[in-house]
Symmetry: C2
Subunit: 333 residues, 2 copies
């Protein structure tokens, strides 16, 4: 009998279709690789072909917008939002709109064109995580921005249009609805119990261990109880913290280790899948809170989304998370 499971934070129900359970090799995968060859604007030497850098980690003596960087942040050449101007909120009959004010940046993660997360050194990946943090700290000063969304599309099937390893940042004048829902869901639990729901979940998962993929000093890596997608995986800090940018230095080191290991496990078990990674953190203008707990969600692109999910928020997941956790734990990396 298939199971219906409820995500305790958002209240979203998911079908875990155990009877047509899929093993990693059953998925019809779209290749994560892009067509090769051609000009790459993110490779060293082509700095002049991108907008001027906002931030770069560079060796001593190298000059901005030239080679010598390890991580480089630039404005998106085709931004979805414009950085200048005020919000201009207004109505249009019963509709509401505002100007598309915001920032849209690209974090070039490494000079290496083939430097995926599993191939970067732990220090190299840690630098990417610091760049996320530095950009958040800078952008949150702009009071127009209510949420800073950091995400990574890896592989063409996951929506990446350029192969060179990069993440994206979008600073928004609104809090996206699913973020609002997640933060409010956690708040509701806190009102009831005076405990963080993520902390409770971490305790329960570490006791039962069936959905735990990995842990280190600072982080636990789990398959969530009600995942929308096969092999959807969350990385959560063990010590409660609502805002990513408030992490301790030691935590960024351990996050790099956990993330590199997870992507390596996925590469091995799922044959280098395309994936999406999303940083879930508190809205920037909100105080540090006892109810929300930042984390990373990583979703390999293994199934074709059947589209009706858009209209309904309803998901059918053919892989029980307990099995996914076991496959990942057993990966030979």
């Amino acid at each position: 009998m298939p199971e219906l499971r409820k995500d305790p934070i958002t209240g979203r129900w998911v079908i875990i279709a155990t009877e047509r359970a899929k093993r990693p090799t059953d998925f019809l995968r779209e290749p994560s690789a892009h067509a090769h060859g051609g000009f790459c604007p993110f490779c060293p030497g082509n700095e002049a072909k991108t907008p001027s850098e906002i931030l770069a980690y560079r060796g001593n003596g190298s000059t901005p917008n030239s080679t010598g960087w390890t991580v480089r942040v630039i404005p998106n050449k085709f931004p979805a939002l414009g950085i200048e101007g005020d919000l201009g909120r207004m109505g249009e009959g019963l509709f509401d709109k505002m100007n598309g004010v915001g920032a849209h940046e690209v974090i070039i993660e490494t000079p290496e064109h083939e430097g995926t997360f599993s191939r970067l050194t732990e220090k190299g990946l840690e630098d990417v995580l610091w760049a996320y943090r530095d950009r958040i700290v800078d952008l949150r000063k702009d009071r127009r921005f209510r949420y800073i969304l950091i995400f990574k599309n890896h592989g063409e099937a996951a929506g990446a249009s350029l192969e060179h390893p990069h993440s994206q940042l979008i600073a928004l004048p609104i809090v996206p609805i699913r973020v609002r829902e997640e933060v409010d869901g956690a708040k509701q639990y806190y009102s009831l119990k005076e405990r963080c729901i993520f902390c409770d979940m971490i305790r329960q998962e570490m006791d039962s261990k069936v959905r735990v993929v990995d842990e280190n000093e600072s982080f636990v890596v789990i398959e969530p109880y009600a995942p929308r997608f096969p092999f959807e995986t969350w990385i959560l800090p063990k010590v409660h913290e609502s805002h990513y940018e408030n992490g301790q230095m030691r935590e960024f080191q351990n996050l790099s280790r956990a993330l590199k290991k997870l992507v390596s496990q996925m590469d091995q078990v799922l044959e280098r899948p395309a994936y999406n990674m999303v940083l879930h953190t508190s809205p920037v203008q909100e105080q540090t809170s006892a109810h929300y707990h930042w984390h990373i969600e990583l979703m390999p692109k293994l199934t074709r989304v059947a589209g009706f999910e858009w209209g309904t928020g309803f998901y059918i997941n053919p892989t029980p998370p307990e099995e996914a956790a076991q496959f990942l734990r057993n990966a030979e990396i």
Copy 2:
């Protein structure tokens, strides 16, 4: 300057990225066509290869599970849910689950393997709409079911695994979260205004006309104000009604006309795109209401969803709905 627009029903904000506005020919389309050849279990003559039919519209004298039908409804051979048993709601620490009880049916829309919505006769398509209605009326008697989800994935890129034209029905023991959100959003507006938000929207759209694609005696076809996807299109009944299955006979005729015309317009403008269609109707065990207004949402698959949308509910749409409406209105069909 791009625009941020808010969907008045759900409160979802969307970026309308006017500065990289896309015309219909700009989309990199995945073909809607499937690989041809091979055995089709939905074609006439192969009735014995599918589970026994639940409902069929047949000519006089033809026997069940043989040829002679125009629309045929069968259980899904690989159901995501099982029809037998009770819900068995239970907790698992802080998690909630229940048995995956429900129905999963396939509506084979026509005996013609190539009989897409634009090629069916109006009467043929009307029969499909009646089959939706008949199955809802039958299944709602089962008090375990709280929502009946009817949707169609057309084309491989939209998630269809078989080419032969078909829709799907999933009867669920829960109300999916986005449906709940939409119904509750409409209810909130009603509490404030004592008017249906969809009725207000229809009036405003019919006044301004910029987002209206088509209308007939009973239906209006519009591009919504804050669409998630390019060419996302809604078909709404002009007269308020909360439940699809309560439609008047004349309305099913006019819905068939509107839907056939819309799909033909999309076929012409977007070169026969893959698409998803979702019927949005009230939860079956809820009374007829003054606040919710059933409708159909049709989303051509033109963009690759970049994945972070999953985590955030945040969409960037490169085609303003006013332009999409104009393209569709001007289609030569």
